[in-house]
Each structure stands twice: as structure tokens, then as C-alpha cells.
């Protein structure tokens, strides 16, 4: 075990800002991408479904 306490873990031997700054940005970037991709999928899907109900079924 590397960490004596939770505070130790957060401080990362004095490098907390750099380590957590890296991890936070990575998480934010991935979350941004996932939400964007899912939103685009939903939007496209809905638009096509709406088109489909507008047109008479063949």
C-alpha cells in the first residue's frame, strides 16, 4: 500500500495538482466526447424516425 491516509493520496507526494490535473482533464475530455457522440446519435435517430412517420409507408 502506497498511501498512509486519504490526505496522502490526495497530495501525491506534493505533486497532487499535476497528477489530478492530468486525470481530471482526461476524464472531462472523455465525458465530453461520449456525451457529444450519444447526443448526435439520438438527434439523427429522432430526425429519421420523424421523417419515416411523415412519409406514407409503402
Amino acid at each position: 500500500m502506497n498511501w498512509g491516509s486519504f490526505a496522502d493520496f490526495v497530495q501525491m507526494g506534493g505533486y497532487g495538482v499535476y497528477v489530478w490535473g492530468s486525470y481530471a482533464m482526461t476524464l472531462a475530455a472523455l465525458a465530453f466526447e461520449v456525451s457529444g457522440v450519444l447526443r448526435r446519435q439520438r438527434r439523427t435517430w429522432r430526425r429519421l424516425q420523424a421523417q419515416l412517420t411523415d412519409e406514407p409507408a409503402l
Binding site: 500500500m1 502506497n2 498511501w3 493520496f9 501525491m12 507526494g13 506534493g14 505533486y15 499535476y18 497528477v19 490535473g21 492530468s22 486525470y23 482533464m25 482526461t26 475530455a29 472523455l30 466526447e33 461520449v34 457522440v37 450519444l38 448526435r40 446519435q41 439523427t44 435517430w45 430526425r47 429519421l48 424516425q49 421523417q51 419515416l52 409507408a57
Partner: protein
């Protein structure tokens, strides 16, 4: 193998080059990879933070490695895959290849950005600078611009087939940057440290560090597959929305 068998084997491979058959496959693939990716990343990071020891030279600052190196690897790997699909689009002209290349570009750009960002936050405490114009950093920044250029060029041309073609030429040309990034730490005297893991030598790091890093790498790789599959499904629907198979598919779903 008889001709008929050969023809069948070929057609079963090329079957997935068609958007119609690839669409449901991409859906399944994205769900499978989307579930496995976060699990692997979490296990990798657990090993990275709780099992891997403190680095003798860099203290705890080195723990940035568990995302920095996997992200940097993915930034290059995705570019190669993207250029492969782009080249396939130019040569065999399947409808899907251009969409595959376009679906990969934003994810590649994202990992390039993550590699640069985490690199800056690692450089500050170890080198005393957020950024230096060293060969490794500069060529990685050029990679980011190549991704942006690819997407911007594609977006600037209305006709999607022509956009695919123009962007593909850019992607294939930019491929020359990949070996430059990879070998930059050997070819030039860089501030950036040399590779701790290579194809030819045993890794020069603790086994637990290596394990953690590889798990995150595989996790990022699965993440990229999942996200590119979802994106390519949107692209297929956007481009082929008016074709009969999409209507039939949507009717079946609703």
C-alpha cells in the same frame, strides 16, 4: 480451395464493407467494447495508484504515465488506422471507408490533446517548463494539427464523397509524421525521455507499472472502438438516411 469456396470466403469478408451489414455489427461492437473499456481502465488505474511503487527519481509525479503514455500511443495508432481507411477509400472505393476515417479523427485528436495536456503537467514539475519546442513535443503538436486539418478539410467540402477523397489524401500524406514522432527521441537529442517500453527490449520499469499502463492502453483502445462505432453509425444514418434499407431498419426498431 475451390473457386466457389474462395468466392464465398471473399464475399463474407467484404460483406462487412457494406454499411447495411456493418451497421448492426457496429452497434454490437460498441456495446461490448463500451462495457469492457471502463472496467479495464479502472483496474489499470487501481494497479497504477495502489500496487505500483513510487518512482525513485520522479516521486509520485510519474503516476501521470498511466494516462500519458497510453494516450500518446493511441494518438499515433488511431492516426495509422484512420490513414489506412482513408487509403482504402482511395483505392477500393467502398462507401464505408471514408466514414470510418471520419469517425476516428475526433477520437484521435482527443487522445493527442490528452497526451499534450498530461505531458505539460508532467513537464512542469520534472523539467521546470510546461512546454519546450523539442522534437517529440513539436511532432505531437503537428499530429494534433493534422487531425484538425483532416476534420476541417472534410467539413469544408459539401459533397461527402469528394470530401472523403480530399481528406484521405491529407491523411495519407500526414502519415509521414508518425515515424517522426515515434523515433524523435532517438533521432534528436530531446528533453523528452526515451522509450521505457519498446518492441525490441524488455520494459525498463517495474512489472506492476508496466501492467497498469498496458491495461489502460487496452481500455483506451476498446474505448476508441466503441466511440468510433457509435459515431460511424450516426454517419451512416446521416448519409444513407433516404435509402430503403434504413427505412426498413427503422421500421423494425420502432
Amino acid at each position: 480451395m475451390s473457386d466457389a469456396k474462395l468466392l464465398h470466403a471473399r464475399s463474407s469478408v467484404f460483406r462487412y464493407a457494406s454499411p447495411v451489414t456493418f451497421f448492426p455489427l457496429a452497434g454490437k461492437l460498441s456495446r461490448l467494447c463500451g462495457v469492457c473499456a471502463p472496467l479495464l481502465i479502472c483496474v489499470g488505474l487501481y494497479i497504477g495508484f495502489f500496487v505500483a511503487p513510487t518512482d525513485a527519481q520522479q516521486g509520485e509525479a510519474y503516476r501521470i504515465i498511466f494516462i500519458h503514455v497510453p494516450a500518446a500511443w493511441m494518438s499515433m495508432f488511431i492516426y495509422v488506422v484512420m490513414a489506412f481507411w482513408a487509403a482504402a477509400g482511395l483505392v477500393i472505393r467502398t462507401r464505408l471507408s471514408g466514414m470510418m476515417a471520419l469517425a476516428l479523427a475526433p477520437t484521435g485528436a482527443l487522445f493527442t490533446f490528452i497526451a499534450l495536456w498530461t505531458g505539460a503537467l508532467w513537464g512542469k514539475p520534472t523539467w521546470g517548463a510546461w512546454w519546450v519546442w523539442d522534437a517529440r513535443l513539436t511532432s505531437e503538436l503537428i499530429l494534433l494539427f493534422l487531425y484538425f486539418g483532416f476534420m476541417a478539410l472534410h467539413a469544408s467540402i459539401d459533397d461527402s464523397r469528394r470530401a472523403d477523397k480530399a481528406a484521405a489524401i491529407l491523411a495519407v500524406t500526414g502519415l509521414v509524421n508518425i515515424p517522426i514522432i515515434y523515433f524523435s527521441v532517438k533521432w534528436w537529442n530531446t528533453l523528452h525521455q526515451g522509450a521505457s517500453v519498446s518492441f525490441t527490449n524488455a520494459p525498463t520499469m517495474a512489472a506492476s507499472m508496466f501492467t497498469g499502463m498496458m491495461l489502460v492502453t487496452v481500455g483506451f483502445w476498446l474505448y476508441s472502438i466503441a466511440i468510433a462505432c457509435v459515431r460511424v453509425r450516426s454517419l451512416i444514418l446521416e448519409r444513407e438516411g433516404s435509402s430503403p434499407w434504413v427505412a426498413a431498419y427503422l421500421r423494425k426498431q420502432s
